[in-house]
Chain length 379, copies 2
Amino acid sequence: MTSNDFFKFEIIYKSKKSGARVGRIYTPHGIIDTPCFVAVGTNGTLKALDNKTLDEMGLQLMFANTYHLILQPGSKLIAQAGGIHKFAKRSFPIITDSGGFQVFSLAYGGVAQELKSKGQKKHDSSVIKISEEGVLFRSYKDGAKILLTPETSIQAQKEIGADIIVSFDELLPYHADSKQLLKSLDRTHRWEKRSLDEHKKNINKQALYAVLHGGVDKDLRKKSCDNLTKLDFDGFAIGGSVGKDRFEMFDMLKSLMPNLPQDKPNHLLGIGDLESIAGIVPLGIDTFDSSHPTRAARHGLLFTKKGLMRIFKSGNALNHGPIETDCSCITCQNYSLSYVYHLFKAHELIGLTLATIHNIQFMIDLMKDYRFKILNDQI
Amino acid sequence: MTSNDFFKFEIIYKSKKSGARVGRIYTPHGIIDTPCFVAVGTNGTLKALDNKTLDEMGLQLMFANTYHLILQPGSKLIAQAGGIHKFAKRSFPIITDSGGFQVFSLAYGGVAQELKSKGQKKHDSSVIKISEEGVLFRSYKDGAKILLTPETSIQAQKEIGADIIVSFDELLPYHADSKQLLKSLDRTHRWEKRSLDEHKKNINKQALYAVLHGGVDKDLRKKSCDNLTKLDFDGFAIGGSVGKDRFEMFDMLKSLMPNLPQDKPNHLLGIGDLESIAGIVPLGIDTFDSSHPTRAARHGLLFTKKGLMRIFKSGNALNHGPIETDCSCITCQNYSLSYVYHLFKAHELIGLTLATIHNIQFMIDLMKDYRFKILNDQI
């Protein structure tokens, strides 16, 4: 158990059947029951859903992006408002990333694009220089030069004031060769140590997670793990390229997870599709974030116990029952599938909100169900 | 006082200072306190705001468009769902129009466009034929031919099932000459009589309003009034071209209002900007509808007691107080102006919802204030 005044992790139960575990993360803004799905609120809000409603739904952890927040509205403005919780009116815990991932995306395109492009740089005009100090890039908002380093990332995350913050790391493309990977890994470890040192100057009731790297190379993952778990981070995120598909990821995680300290919480970055969740929970993943449920909702893909359902599926127009009969979400408790179908058909924005509410509630309920099953050794 | 089982209008107070009056319209879905602003929910929802939230805010009357609803999802589907209140999950009263206005808009463009185009037909490819029977047009959704007549409009409005429905009328362009106007007026009166006859076959706990025409010609307005008030409509809407500007409209209304039966409710179609409201309330208008407050919200124009405020006004980014200090709306009670500014700046959809909530609450509060002032002979 890691514990201090404001951050504590306890394991409630370990499954007898797998590596799955049920735990609790205590933060200044309340408890996170794990395993927990973390919804992505890039700009301090989920897309198409306001934080008051989200609070009422009981989503326990929201992921916000430091890169976006430093560009708009700026971390200093958020500090002036009293921190991200007050600024965005969220009562429950928030985690921010370091901004590194977005800088990587700017340099190489998104992960999916990158996998297609075999690591060739693209859209890199906004990244001016990557050096030992950090990354110099140009704001897409106003063209201003911004230097993101371990120190400035941590300082920005202090100003934003999330409950959990993340070390600044370098991300290499999936197709990087092992020499590049090793060089980058060493730099990332130096950056993460600098992040920790900066964090310790002003802990600010925040927990700091390291980010484990090494791509899909099991030895490098082990090396990263050994290096970073020696330092007193509060938790460990699994980042970098986690594989070109689900199976490569599962394979990497199977080898990595036994090396993680059992008494600290872990987080898998950027994963949240239903098939992946089914695979990562038994491996002992505590939290994981994804924009998939909210993006799917806006594209008219509704989560149901029978699988994904297209809103425009034949028959939905005439279905006067809820999206899912036993769903407790605001949408299903109030509106029919027929009405939500109509809103999408008529291009009414509020349809996106109602679909988002449903998918997020589905994820909250799904994770409750996972925890119940772990407690009963069914997973 | 007009009264029946399900629809009643009573005047609570007449101002000693003007023609303004405070009244109550009783409907199967509750009371409408007049004068009342009617928000426009074209497709059975306000843009960017869900009906459950709108119910909680207490908006007493919503305006839905028959033209849009018959094309999507279809009036039969709404009937099958149990009517528009059940379909759209709205507890409070709803009024639908006849669909005639949209057919006119298709034939001549919008009113504003029409004023510029001097009445030349445009975008009229979807209107196939206007005859004594009604209007034949083509659905922009699927190309199907649809015949809208007094009878089919009323039948569709029966299927939709709003509390207040409106007679089918013909709209002429503002620039129509007096011969055209007179001819159209006579046809409109015949169509409205047919609407009333159709309505009487199956009253369906609905009130039917006539639509007074005559453009800005005071004699024609008087003629329309004399013709239609002889018939037993439950209320009178003022439609057609009401003037090229506010002053022409005030002038027309000053001459028209004394001819209206005092014991029946009236409705001014499509007007709702703040300056117009200040002019029409003292003339005795009971209800009026406009999409202006919701559209303004989506364009970042916030209603305040000091006038319209652009969301991007300098200073708003750093204003950590609410949009308006003494506003009771969900947005002002929970979120800062700085945060709403940020949401707009970051192109977050939920910003549109928060702005819409504020503007609608402003209108609800504004009308409360108007009623208070009338009761105290201040208006």
